[in-house]
């Protein structure tokens, strides 16, 4: 298999002068600058024409470069579009950067190469005002249609105090409502097919089974779904913009709330990325504490998944059992961190505090309890005949389709592909643990549930190993950029006092550079792409969440099925809207 330098050589042959430059990054991912007219060509080459191609379009995002100071040797650019490709066979990523000049630059679409590019490109338009030529429907995606400006551009204010006073004239309500009206034609749906009129059924934004504020409009022939359109953005909180306004340290609590069911599991990719930028080596004990808490949160997230999935299928009771069990897990989290759902416990360089006295029996007890409960869930749900009727064979998915659409995590594993970052590209110390990667067979709703259940067991296994192998030592790196700095010496030396004061008030100044870290989140691969301009805040924080591409697959998964099946699918793909909208 070729190394990244071979890929680079082939790209040079292919693109000639179009390949402008390569850029060193802190994360070691091959990063190539390709001119806008050749970008599509380069992407197609990497997707299809090499051996072991980069089949997964992991992410598309942009950087507003106009105010960036540290970009040595990089081609001139006002807006840089970043394509992040990933290859499963190579266990390798590649980043293609496209420099664009002008106020509203144009770029060719790649939706014909990857269908999953659709929403990402709409996000480019919505957030940066980059016009994507040839896109089937370039509308706003996260923000409402009446929004003025493009929020991730640097000139867009981040705080309400920077804007004129908010007004909402009465006629505004009417205009806004009219703009929100669903129009089948705008979505490319016909009102009349062959010899019948279609019924359009509006599901959400407030519907019992949409797991948050998601609007789905179904085009139906009787009870059968012909097509559907998702409307997202109701849960958008501007987390990426906040990343440009919060210090490196104070952004950590925001990450907890991205996938709000998985707590510190969200901290992990963020702090790992910052540590990579800062060059911090985390002590072993901190790594194992992180892994233990992250796995506990994976279990907690999967418990909610099961409870709500059963609820969607009309089972009344499991949701109560599972939330009760989740409470038990939370009580352990609370004993260790003091927080419950969102402890924000990880720090740049380690964790906030060492484990409290008597933590091990607590964790052992909850693991033993949950292991017993898991067997019960399997009996109550997975072995229930009606549960099987509702899930087996519903919306099967092939590995190819899943990769094409950027599916990761349990959704991809349910299709039969044993791809788990913890195993295949270990990060943060996962290489020292023993666990299996459960896979399904055909990727239907049942397989997804089964994979989730098995993952609970594997996570419990990892937690057990953490308890047994917890190394002694410090839980925080001894590094000037590790925040908050140690307090002990501050009252003896003026230098450490100054250092502590600056570190706490301003926050650390992270050296300029770029790094992306992706981890296996509860719902799929969760990645943070951080750009530092040598400041106390990130220049750009990109949060790549798994729920976003997964939800985009909804039409593919549910065409030709009926409404109850759609409910099974929504329950089985495990998304939360906060994770979709950020």
């Amino acid at each position: 298999m070729e190394t990244s330098s071979d890929i680079l050589r082939m790209l040079i042959e292919r693109c000639g002068d179009g390949l402008l430059d390569t850029q060193p990054t802190r994360d070691g991912v091959l990063t190539c600058w390709v001119s806008a007219d050749l970008a599509r060509e380069a992407l197609r080459f990497l997707q299809a024409e090499i051996d072991h191609p980069y089949r997964v379009l992991f992410d598309i995002t942009a950087i507003d470069e106009r105010y960036r100071e540290h970009r040595p040797g990089q081609p001139p650019s006002d807006f840089t579009v970043v394509y992040h490709l990933s290859s499963v066979e190579r266990r390798q990523d590649v980043r293609i950067k496209v420099p664009l000049l002008g106020e509203h630059p144009q770029l060719a679409t790649v939706t014909d190469l990857w269908p999953s590019a659709n929403w990402y490109e709409r996000e480019l338009w919505d957030m940066f005002g980059i016009v994507v030529d040839g896109h089937p429907r370039l509308d706003r995606i996260l923000l409402p249609p009446w929004w003025q400006g493009h929020p991730l551009r640097k000139e867009h204010p981040a705080r309400a105090t920077e804007m004129p006073p908010f007004t909402f004239p009465p006629e505004g309500a009417i205009t806004y409502e009219e703009m929100m009206q669903f129009s089948p034609e705008a979505q490319g749906m016909a009102c009349r097919l062959e010899d019948f009129d279609c019924m359009f059924l509006n599901l959400g934004p407030h519907h019992p089974s949409t797991h948050g504020v998601l609007r789905v409009v179904l085009q139906m022939d009787g009870q059968q779904i012909i097509d559907l359109a998702c409307e997202i953005g109701f849960h958008h909180r501007g987390a990426e913009k906040m990343g440009e306004r919060q210090s490196w340290h104070t952004f950590i609590p925001y990450t907890d709330r991205i996938d709000y069911l998985a707590g510190v599991l969200n901290n992990l990719p963020y702090v790992l990325a910052v540590e990579q930028l800062a060059g911090i080596d985390v002590p072993d004990r901190a790594r194992v504490i992180r892994i233990m808490l992250a796995e506990l949160f994976r279990v907690i997230s999967h418990l909610v998944y099961f409870g709500t999935f059963a609820q969607d299928l009309g089972m009344m009771s499991p949701v109560f059992y599972l939330f009760n069990d989740r409470e038990r897990a939370f009580s352990v989290i609370e004993a260790i961190t003091g927080g419950r759902m969102h402890p924000s416990w990880f720090r740049i360089g380690g964790v906030a505090q060492d484990l409290p006295d008597g933590w091990a029996p607590l964790v052992r007890e909850v693991v033993r309890y949950l292991r017993r409960q898991t067997d019960q869930y399997e009996k109550v749900m997975l072995q229930n005949a009606i549960f099987k009727l509702r899930t087996v064979g519903i919306s099967p998915l092939t590995v190819d389709e899943a990769l094409q659409w950027g599916a990761t995590g349990p959704l991809l594993r349910a299709c039969g592909m044993a791809w788990d970052l913890r195993k295949d590209r270990p990060y943060g110390g996962y290489e020292q643990f023993e666990f299996d990667v459960p896979v399904g067979r055909c990727g239907d709703c049942f397989d997804r549930a089964m994979v989730h259940l098995e993952e609970i067991r594997q996570s419990l296994r990892i937690i057990d190993q953490c308890v047994e192998q917890m190394p002694p030592g410090a839980c925080k790196a001894d590094h000037p950029l590790a925040i908050p700095p140690p307090k002990e010496r501050t009252l003896r030396h003026i230098e450490t006092l100054i250092d502590h004061f600056l570190g706490v008030s301003w926050g650390p100044v992270i050296p300029p550079g770029e790094a992306a870290v992706t981890v296996e989140g509860a719902k799929g691969q969760n990645g943070y792409y951080l750009v530092s301009d040598g400041n106390t805040m990130a220049y750009r924080t990109r949060i790549r969440t798994p729920s976003f591409p997964h939800l985009q697959m909804l039409p593919l998964l549910s065409r030709g099925l009926v409404v109850p099946d759609l409910v099974s699918i929504l329950g089985s793909i495990d998304f939360v809207m906060a994770d979709v909208d950020r």
Partner: protein, 318 residues
């Protein structure tokens, strides 16, 4: 004069009894569900939360009774009352104990079947008149489901009728003096029980109002007292079906030591408890799966039961 008074007393007694039991069932069900789901349930208003119902009633009576402007007004108003009337009138033919019955008609079972068929109108019209897509889908499902299950329901009861040789509830219960029909008619009981779940639209066969799919199904647009009528109708229906099961399969008022009415009541409560337990434990099948199960499994079973019963009676009686 005395006769008239007796009849009046029975009518008022039965009506009061049913109208206490059915709403009381709402509280009972919530407590039972809570017990099985590891939580508390309503426990604040009155002893053990038993006055929760009164609080709910006050709330629901003082709510705005909204009729959507796009609804078909007269039908929208009539629909909820049909279900309560139809299910309530079925109680007229049930014999609770010797001498305690409003009218022990000689076509009692048929009357019950006819009345339960009437309930379909309520759901169908309510959903249709709401002029709402969810309500429409719910009522389409309701009509399909209830009409189909009507068939198996009636057929499953014919075995009982054949064994006792009468349509009258009094005679049927009398015929079970030695052996309850749940033994020879176990197949009929199973079919009737499932059909009764479907008729009363209870979980797991609550597809017309499947919350996670259709929000509230056919009564999505209903609020206030009209919604309460549908709600009450469901619980009266559950009580009715429990009463029918007790009378036709579990020997009605027969039982040692205790007075007959008490036996009847205890058995009814036990059957209702079973309804609640099922609600707490099963998921909901899909609409087409439900219909398939009905026509491909329940119908042959009901017919088989009827055939076998007939054959045995013939063989015995000659």
């Amino acid at each position: 004069m005395n006769e008239l008074l007796r009849i009046l007393l029975t009518v008022v007694g039965v009506l009061l009894g049913v109208m206490t039991l059915a709403p009381g069932l709402i509280w009972g069900e919530r407590r039972l569900l809570a017990l099985w789901q590891d939580r508390c349930g309503p426990n604040r208003v009155g002893p053990f939360g038993s006055l929760q119902l009164v609080a709910d009633m006050i709330k629901i009576l003082t709510k705005e009774d909204w009729i959507p402007p796009f609804a078909d007004k007269p039908v929208f108003i009539i629909a909820p009352s049909i279900i309560v009337t139809a299910t309530l009138s079925s109680f007229a033919v049930v014999v609770f104990a010797p001498g305690i019955a409003v009218a022990d008609l000689n076509i009692g079972v048929l009357f019950f079947l006819a009345m339960s068929a009437m309930a379909v109108y309520s759901v169908a019209l309510g959903g249709w008149a709401s002029n709402n897509k969810y309500a429409l889908l719910g009522s389409i499902r309701a009509v399909g489901q209830m009409l189909s299950y009507e068939v198996f329901m009636a057929l499953s009861l014919m075995g009982v009728v054949a064994l006792s040789g009468s349509f009258s509830f009094g005679d049927i219960v009398e015929a079970q003096r030695d052996l309850w029909f749940c033994v020879p008619q176990c197949l009929g009981l199973a079919v009737f029980f499932i059909a009764a779940l479907a008729e009363t639209r209870r979980v797991p066969l609550d597809l017309p109002e499947a919350e996670s799919e259709l929000v509230a199904g056919y009564h999505t647009e209903y609020s206030g007292m009209k919604f309460a009528m549908f709600f009450l109708g469901e619980y009266i229906g559950v009580t009715l079906n429990a009463v029918i099961i007790v009378a036709l399969f579990f020997g009605g008022w027969h039982g040692p030591w205790l007075p007959p009415v008490v036996w009847f009541l205890l058995k009814t409560l036990a059957v209702i408890g079973l309804f609640v337990l099922i609600r707490a434990s099963l998921p909901r099948p899909r609409y087409d799966q439900l219909m398939e199960f009905g026509w491909k499994a329940l119908l042959p079973l009901a017919l088989l039961n009827l055939l076998a019963t007939g054959a045995i009676i013939l063989a015995r009686g000659g």
